[in-house]
């Protein structure tokens, strides 16, 4: 019950936050969230939610998805709200990719935006050819992101910690500078991206829903929601599999993992490629939705945004990722009211969260291989 209440409440809260326009409304909503959290801890409500989640996870997941779809449909006519929902969802998907890399396996990746951008650029180039069906372009975006990460495999596998960080930072800078200095991919001016098309349906058109004129972003919001659910399920299955267990072992102690037959190299390679694949796919859809991309959108600071989603949410925690993606994407937007002061405020806010919740907003729980099923022990 408590779990269902939280899911429904979160849906309403999301709606209110998207609709909030005035400063006092945004501040009020943030204060409300803070107070509700404190109250939930004080009254033991949190524990009840956790218990519900442990007992009925699949049902609650389905409910959450239904609430998300409901939210999207309620806002079907509101372009901007749908754009924001889709952006949150796509950043969330990207953060799951990163989470496989450093939430599970401990591989730091400070070039997330580069792989995200690789997907978007793939969508731009392939979309312009009109030879490949757009649905396949999404996958192609992932594959290209994976392919450009191949040269990094050797240094990534051999280095650890900060040394690995430098490899990815260097790659991120290199990627962006490369896009800027040559004209092949539009140079600094960027490229147009064709919209998503399914057979018989161009996402450029606004769907007609029971006679109501809706926003064309409805297409993207629904598709992003579907993709998010799919990647979420994959992410959960990965976590709850031997591969996920091995990734944890590699993150927590490479030497011990190797002594128990786990191939550290293969595990890292798998995590790096799989993560970049997901980053690329989400980037491709993002590119199609935004319809115009340029190197300036895939900089080091954009990579940092992705990293901060993972850390704010809690390493390896997908639900934390949802909350963090909402904060990281929506908050600067809501802070537009503060104009030039908003980044200062945003960075201070992130520092405070990390100081007081170093494990992230919703820390990851212990592994439960098959939720909803009592494993015979």
């Amino acid at each position: 019950m408590a779990g269902a209440l939280v899911v429904l409440g979160a849906g309403h809260y999301g709606w209110a936050l998207l609709m909030a326009e005035e400063t006092w409304q945004v501040v009020g909503l943030l204060a409300l969230a803070g107070m509700a959290t404190i109250a939930a801890y004080k009254t033991g409500f949190v524990r009840r939610v956790e218990r519900d989640w442990a007992e009925a996870e699949p049902q609650l997941n389905r409910l959450a998805f239904a609430v998300l779809i409901g939210l999207i449909l309620v806002l079907a006519g509101s372009h901007f709200a749908l754009l924001m929902i889709s952006t949150v969802l796509l950043y969330f998907i990207a953060s799951l990719g990163l989470n496989i890399q450093f939430g599970f396996t401990g591989l730091v990746n400070f070039a997330g935006a580069a792989f995200f951008g690789a997907g978007a650029y793939t969508a731009a180039v392939l979309g312009a050819q009109a030879l490949i069906p757009p649905l396949l372009i999404l996958i192609a975006g992932g594959i290209v992101a994976m392919a450009i990460s191949l040269p990094l495999l050797v240094p990534i596998v051999r280095t650890t910690g900060h040394y690995a960080a430098v490899v990815t930072i260097a790659f991120g800078v290199l990627f962006r500078t490369f896009l800027e200095v040559n004209e092949i991919l539009g140079g600094p001016q960027g490229l147009m991206v064709e919209s998503m098309k399914l057979p018989g349906w161009d996402f450029y058109n606004a769907p007609n829903l029971f006679g109501f004129e809706t926003s064309f972003y409805l297409n993207y919001a629904l598709m992003a929601a579907g993709l998010a659910a799919l990647v979420f399920a994959l992410f959960r299955r990965l976590e709850r599999s031997w591969i996920g267990l091995h990734m944890d072992a590699v993150r927590l102690d490479e030497t011990a993992a190797a002594c128990f037959g786990i191939s550290v190299r293969k595990t890292k390679i798998l995590a790096f490629l799989l993560g970049n694949l997901i980053l690329g796919v989400s980037g491709a859809l993002y590119g199609m939705m935004i319809s115009f991309i340029a190197p300036a959108s895939f900089t080091f600071s954009d990579s940092l945004l992705l990293v901060s989603i993972v850390l704010l949410g809690g390493l390896g925690s997908p639900w934390g990722g949802v909350v963090a993606a909402t904060i990281v994407v929506l908050l600067p937007e809501k802070l537009q009211l503060l104009q030039e002061y908003r980044f200062l405020l945003f960075s201070i806010l992130v520092i405070l969260v990390l100081l007081f919740r170093p494990e992230g907003l919703l820390p990851r729980h212990l592994r439960n291989f098959f939720p909803n099923r009592r494993t015979g022990a």
Partner: protein, 306 residues
């Protein structure tokens, strides 16, 4: 390529290398004592330079016009102020996070860097525009063919190298240095030896930040221009240099700094009309180096006991 051109590249490489090394040394010191990367280092450097600039404005205002006196004042204020800021950051943001995952420190300091940068941009008078940093050093120069050797560059390089040398002495020859090395080696043992752990960490951050402020002032004196974004790129390069050289090792940082400067200069010399590719070149070499030497050119002693 004629001699003048080569000499010019060489002089430029040495100056850049000294500057990068000074920044990288900070990263490596912090990593040594606390195993953390303080990413706001570059922005602290920028803040230090602005403190120095403000000090100069103040000195001008009260009528001190002798450039050497001004320089002394600028350096004093900047180094002391930045050292204090470095220690404060260590005390309130980094030490409390000692038990948290390393990545958190990285992100917090990155965000702190953003906050410092934005604060200077917004609150320093007209901070979003570049400022003219005064040329306080003599501007004489010796012409050797087409190569102009400038007195200020020589002074900057010599004093920068001297500072690195002095730092090396402090680390290797003084009680404080001994304490820093002890803490770097093993915190627990250092504590049981009666070393005031917190004090040593704060001192290290103060020293590292002060050295960075020196690099910032050097930057200002050489380019005669400072701006709120100068720390970002210097920090990134300093960090890369420290890593490529090998963390936790003074010589590694110096080597990395000069290596990076060398790469940039060579990159733009070899790619004469495509010098925009020089960063692509420098960072590609960094990636290759990491693949070849995954723990840096001068690797740290493996602390991973099995």
């Amino acid at each position: 390529m004629d001699f003048g051109l080569i000499a010019q590249y060489l002089a430029n490489g040495i100056l850049l290398g000294t500057m990068y090394a000074l920044v990288a040394v900070g990263f490596t010191l912090f990593f040594g004592v606390l195993d953390v990367i303080k990413f706001s280092h570059g922005d602290v450097l920028m803040l230090g330079t602005f403190i120095g600039f403000t000090a100069w404005l103040g000195l001008e205002a009260v009528g001190v016009t002798n450039p050497w006196l001004q320089l002394a004042g600028v350096l004093l204020c900047s180094l002391a102020g930045t050292a204090l800021i470095g220690a404060a950051i260590a005390n309130w943001l980094i030490l409390p996070l000692k038990r948290a995952p390393q990545l958190n420190t990285l992100l917090i300091t990155l965000m702190l860097g953003t906050a410092i940068r934005e604060a200077v941009r917004l609150f320093y008078p007209n901070g979003s525009n570049p400022k003219a940093f005064p040329a306080l050093l003599p501007d004489a120069s010796v012409e050797i063919g087409s190569f102009a050797l400038r007195a200020d560059s020589v002074i900057l390089v010599v004093s920068g190298l001297a500072l690195i040398g002095a730092l090396n002495l402090v680390i290797n020859r003084t009680r404080l240095g001994l304490a820093i090395r002890a803490v770097a080696q093993d915190e627990e043992t250092a504590r049981t030896m009666g070393i005031n752990y917190t004090l040593v960490v704060l001192a290290t951050f103060a020293i590292g930040s002060g050295v960075a402020a020196f690099a910032g002032i050097m930057n200002g004196l050489y380019y005669n221009e400072i701006n709120f974004g100068m720390g970002l790129i210097l920090g990134l390069i300093g960090f890369s240099a420290a890593i490529v050289g090998g963390l936790g090792n003074l010589y590694g940082a110096i080597l990395g700094g000069f290596l990076f400067a060398g790469l940039q200069v060579v990159g733009s010399a070899l790619l004469p009309f495509a010098s925009a590719y020089k960063d692509v070149f420098a960072f590609a070499v960094v990636i290759a180096l990491m693949a070849w030497k995954p723990t840096g050119l001068i690797p740290e002693r493996s602390s991973d006991r099995v």
